[in-house]
Amino acid sequence: MALRTTPIADNAPNKITVKELDFFYGDFHALTDITVDIKEKAVTAFIGPSGCGKSTFLRCFNRMNDLIPSARAEGLVSLDGQDIYETGVDPVDLRRRIGMIFQQPNPFPMSIYDNVAFGPRLQGVSKKAALDEVVQTSLERANLWKEVKDILGRGGLTLSGGQQQRLCIARVLAVEPEVMLMDEPCSAIDPTSVQKIEDLMAELKDRITIIIVTHNMQQAARVSDFTAFFLQEVAGDPAILVEYDRTSNLFTSPKDRRTEDYITGRFG
């Protein structure tokens, strides 16, 4: 379990609220009846066997699924109380507020500096001093500044995998997101970098809400405050949210037998 002095309070505000969400890819019913409150400034982990819809669910939060033709969501997903699927919500603005980190680090084929300055420039920041500051601050927050401060002009793709992933985190942080979605952010990088990214998550949650999808249950247990377990019980049926609880409870005394069986390795 993520070590901390005080656990997230029960009455901590919700950043994202999901009510009775169903999700479809055309005729395929991927998720059904998902209701969950994501606490603000906490780390929430989604776990479950492959194909249980956890990445699909994650992508509902920033409407990434909109990019897939025939995909549709029914039910409510709200950010700070506002329905994000409402007409009038700009998905681009939404994705600034809710940043995303993917399994494969995906720096743009440009310099380290330009990677981080990319978002702020799009938002209209053009003065060099202002950009310099945001680049430095973001790289510092991503715990990458010390390693790259003398090579900012070098291509982002020349960095190691773990550094590239932290560069992508800095790029997201540069636009001051409120939420960061991380889809298997550590599965393609070396253990030392994994450690750095996990440490980083613990630091970042003072400011932002983090939701992480991970196949690594020890990682979920280490980094998260809350854990949600998803399961597709029968092939072809939609996946459900089986159990959602504080990570410390879910990994010591899960309430549902299916959660127990999954996390103890009895199936999946």
Partner: protein, 222 residues
């Protein structure tokens, strides 16, 4: 991998149950040696303590190894942690049985009033029952039986108090060293049963995942 892990958990649990049965036997031998004045039997109990210590340590070492390599969670984690806890309680109970055996060695050759021997024997019989119940509850994950241990403990406390009342009737010429050894033995039996109640609470936790209120002895009568 996971199959081997599960087998290890089963083996560890069987080992702790077996330690528990060993402690029951030693307690029985200790009380018998005290009541019958059998010094050889008392010696056997004292000598056997090393084995319990060694096996308890092995359980603890093995548990730590499994935690470090297998990352157990949920019921596996509760089981491993509880097994260590229970084994350490059994080990303390075995130490108390040794203390009773030592009292048997001190008092052998002297004979006090039969009433007090009868009381110790009665208390011992109840303690064996409590010890048997810990082993059975652990072996079969029987929460109801585990919770009942507290009730089984009550008459043992009661007999301990009665023991004091009987002592007060002793005449001046009775051997004071003999009397104090018997009081201590009764006290050790009462402590063994208290440890058993703690084990019962831990068995309830490993099955349900909920910590139940910890039992504390009502009063310290020593």
């Amino acid at each position: 991998m996971r199959e081997a892990f599960r087998q290890e958990l089963k083996d560890l649990k069987a080992e702790v149950v077996s330690i528990g049965k060993g402690v029951t036997d030693r307690t029985r031998d200790a009380v018998t040696s005290l009541v019958t004045g059998d010094v050889d039997l008392a010696e056997k109990v004292v000598a056997g303590d090393e084995e319990i210590d060694r096996r308890t340590l092995a359980v603890e070492e093995h548990s730590i190894e499994v935690i470090a390599t297998q990352f157990p969670v949920a019921r596996d984690l509760r089981l491993l942690h509880s097994l260590t806890y229970i084994a350490l309680h059994y080990e303390r109970m075995a130490d108390l049985a040794v203390n009773i055996a030592r009292a048997a060695k001190r008092t052998a050759g002297r004979r006090g009033p039969q009433t007090l021997y009868d009381l110790i024997q009665a208390q011992g019989n109840l303690v064996y029952r409590v010890l048997d119940a810990t082993c059975e509850a652990l072996e079969t994950r029987d929460v109801e039986l585990a919770r009942k241990l507290q009730d089984l403990d009550e008459p043992i406390d009661h007999l301990y108090k009665q023991f004091f009342r009987e002592l007060a009737r002793l005449q001046d010429e009775e051997d004071i060293e003999w009397a104090s050894s018997m009081v201590l033995a009764s006290r050790y039996l009462e402590r063994i049963a208290d440890n058993a109640v703690d084990i019962g609470e831990r068995i309830a936790y490993l099955v349900t995942g909920e910590f139940e209120a910890l039992h504390s002895p009502d009063e310290e009568t020593s």
